[in-house]
């Protein structure tokens, strides 16, 4: 295989050489999964970075959806063709962390090339999630989001609800949803994207209850799910009951429900803060509230956990390339770049300075609600329950949870059965993954 690796390397450098005219420039490849307006942000940042210096050329390449991008990266690594930077979604974090031999921690990349690197300038809630238990920062948080509540003000008006006061707890959401449905203001009261991320992972963190043992997997691999505790069962039974008459409407496993809300079918909606763009563009009269919490939970609201994606650096690259990557990350951390990213995309700023600057610029006054996700994530110091969740096979575990939810919502099983099954099957899958 050595020989093939060499041949591939030569071939790769030949193609690289043939596509660029400036030989002295070191190319840094960045594989990403950004589409639409977010892809424009990627292209603009890359162009600006390339224009800002002349030693490195950043080449962003779209590789499909999040899972497709992760797979392309893995396939390329196995074939000895890994890119320098790979964007990996939150669920893939555990996968990347388990692959210690394949990646180079961002902290090492930044310090290894004698550049100043100060972890404290980044938002702690986000950086904590992308770090090892000992605090070493492994990946660079590029786009982070947090689930928030959106509501349709016109529907609220029609249903006789307070337009300026969105529901704060889940019970209030259920009541408001019922009122919307019975008053005929809209055919459905409430819908949500990402049940696993919002109603399990963030539900647990926000209400300060355990999602799984071992600090939700952050402290070690031997993890058991805790999601069949009564607080989860009650929550999901409420959802299942509301689903029976269509007060709650299921949209799909990922972000599909956004379309239901945009079509004006449902009055209340929980979704990532990164989904704001579509809602603004639809011209809807919308409002934003913080993620609801469970009124029975003691510490609620605690803090939410980051979703989105981070940038990983592959191992076995040349020093020159690492220098380029470090230069890019340094550029990306600049306040004006972060401000642009945050204001254009709805993702969170990753540095404190960018947050302060955005605040000072009056952006949040003009765009009420845009600060909500930042406050949710940084409002309180995270507990063992709210630093995020991490599993080597989180995609698979989420799949299992979704399958059980779908059976529950179709009326084939109760919430207790669904969550019990999800725990049993999930634990078995985690154990299996650890054996590999």
């Amino acid at each position: 295989m050595k020989f093939f690796g060499f041949a591939a390397g030569v071939a790769a450098s030949l193609t690289l050489l043939s596509t660029t005219s400036a030989f002295a420039v070191t190319q840094i490849s960045w594989w990403h999964a950004m589409t639409g307006a977010n892809a424009e942000v990627v292209d603009k940042i890359s162009k600006d970075f390339n224009a800002s210096q002349s030693d490195y050329e950043l080449v962003p390449v779209f590789k499909g959806t999040y899972p497709e991008t992760l797979n392309a990266g893995i396939a390329a690594f196995r074939a000895g063709q890994a890119p320098d930077i790979l964007q990996v979604f939150d669920v893939g974090t555990g996968v990347m962390m388990a692959a210690e031999g394949a990646i180079k921690p961002v902290a090492e990349v930044m310090t290894g090339v004698a550049m100043s690197f100060d972890k404290s300038q980044y938002l702690p809630g986000i950086v904590g999630y992308y770090s090892k238990p000992d605090g070493t920062m492994l990946s660079f948080p590029y786009n982070s989001s947090s689930p928030i509540l959106y509501y349709n003000k016109d529907i609220f008006q029609k249903a006789g609800l307070d337009v300026n006061n969105p529901p704060k707890t889940w019970n209030e959401v259920w009541e408001a949803a019922k009122k919307i449905k019975t008053s005929g203001a809209a055919p459905c009261g409430y819908t949500s994207t990402w049940l696993t991320w919002i109603h399990l992972e963030n539900f647990a963190a926000w209400n300060d209850v355990s999602w799984a043992t071992q600090q939700n997997g952050l402290a070690g691999g031997d993890v058991e799910l805790k999601i069949n505790a009564p607080i989860f069962v009650n929550h999901f039974q409420a959802l299942a009951d509301l689903a029976k008459d269509g007060t709650f409407k299921y949209g799909g496993r990922t972000s599909e429900a956004k379309q239901i809300f945009l079509a004006g079918e449902c009055g209340i909606f929980t979704e990532s803060s990164g989904g704001l763009g579509d809602i603004v563009k639809s011209g809807m009269n919308y409002g934003i509230g913080q993620l609801p919490y469970d009124s029975d939970a003691k510490g609620a609201p605690q803090n939410t956990t980051p979703g989105g994606a981070s940038l990983w650096v592959f191992g076995d690259k040349s020093d020159e390339q690492y220098k380029g990557v470090a230069a890019f990350f340094a550029y990306l951390s600049k306040t004006d770049v972060q401000e642009y990213l945050h204001q254009k995309s709805g993702y969170l700023p990753v540095t404190l300075a960018a947050y302060e600057a955005t605040k000072k610029s009056g952006f949040y006054d003009k765009n009420p609600g845009r600060e909500t996700p930042v406050l949710q994530m940084t409002g309180k110091a995270p507990t063992d329950n709210s630093k995020g969740v991490r599993l080597p096979n989180l995609p698979q575990v989420r799949d299992i949870q979704n399958e059980e939810f779908e059976k529950m919502l179709a009326g084939q099983q109760t919430a207790q059965q669904a969550l019990d099954n999800a725990v049993t099957r999930g634990n078995a899958a985690i154990k299996e993954a650890l054996e590999n």
Binding site: A263, E265, E403, N436
Partner: protein
């Protein structure tokens, strides 16, 4: 023959060999650690109820797709033969979907029948049908079969039209003089003569339904709700590329290859012999 063999060897048997080797390994996604486990992956896959479910789903889906696509196409082809005027126009209008990529076809059907922005879903709902492919497995399967069959109708239609035109007019006229009715003429003369076409289409449609519909499943249902539309190929993809359990995924590919070889053998041994060659 040499060039095809060479390409087949390099781009098919070489990777297939690697898949076979992979199917006996347990490996982390990056290939950093691996363990040789002989047939453990196969035992695990075959004992998995989800896998058996997926076989059932595949059989239902493939049969439904092949039957729907071929029957509709045959009906339209026969009608097109009858409609003397405007035949060319009909044909042109009927063959469009063939040119649409599965990934795009899936997207279009989703666009029409998506419970939220789909206009046809809206229509169904206003007719009082609780259309919900996201939670109702039967609805999801119907949507999937419709999308898959829709894309294949044109292809079948073209071949049936060609087949029908090749039927000698004199034979039909002779039968008509003998007093055979239209329906009888079709089943006793035309249909048997269409056998080679039908056989070819059967093979193509089965293969299409088994494998090429990946793009459609991927775009329309993603295997859900639950696991009600998870076909074998989709499961190979999902286990290997989403869940990153490479050994299981490779074992499934190998089982698929075995199924395929068996199917092919059966088709050639028993079906081809009966087929009427002109």
């Amino acid at each position: 023959m040499a060039p095809q063999l060479a390409i087949t060897l390099v781009f098919f048997y070489w990777p297939a060999g690697q898949a076979l080797y992979q199917s006996m390994l347990r490996q982390d996604p990056f290939g950093l650690r691996s363990r040789f486990v002989w047939f453990a992956n196969f035992r695990k896959v075959l004992a998995d109820p989800a896998y058996l479910n997926s076989i059932q789903v595949t059989v239902v889906f493939s049969l439904a797709t092949a039957i729907v696509a071929m029957c509709v196409a045959l009906l339209l082809a026969v009608m097109a033969e009858k409609a003397v005027r405007g035949k060319g126009l009909y044909r042109t209008l009927l063959i469009w979907p063939y040119a649409v990529a599965p990934a795009i076809a899936g997207m279009l059907w989703l666009f029409l029948f998506n419970p939220s922005i789909g206009s046809l879903a809206y229509l169904l709902r206003s007719l009082g049908i609780a259309w919900d492919p996201l939670l109702n497995g039967t609805h999801a399967m119907i949507l999937l079969v419709s999308a898959a069959a829709w894309k294949q109708i044109s292809y079948n239609f073209l071949f049936f039209v060609a087949g029908l035109q090749a039927v000698p007019k004199t034979l039909i006229e002779a039968a008509a003089m003998d007093g055979a009715g239209e329906t009888k003429r079709f089943w006793t003369i035309v249909f048997p003569l269409l056998a080679p076409t039908t056989f070819f289409l059967l093979v193509v449609n089965t293969v299409y339904a088994l494998f090429d519909t990946f793009g459609i499943v991927h775009a329309v249902t993603g295997g859900g709700p639950g696991k009600t539309t998870e076909t074998l190929v989709y499961k190979v993809y999902n286990d290997g590329f989403v869940n990153l359990i490479l050994g299981d995924s490779a074992a499934q590919s190998v089982i698929l290859m075995a199924i395929v070889i068996a199917l092919t053998a059966i088709q050639f041994r028993y079906v081809e012999r009966k087929v009427h060659y002109g």
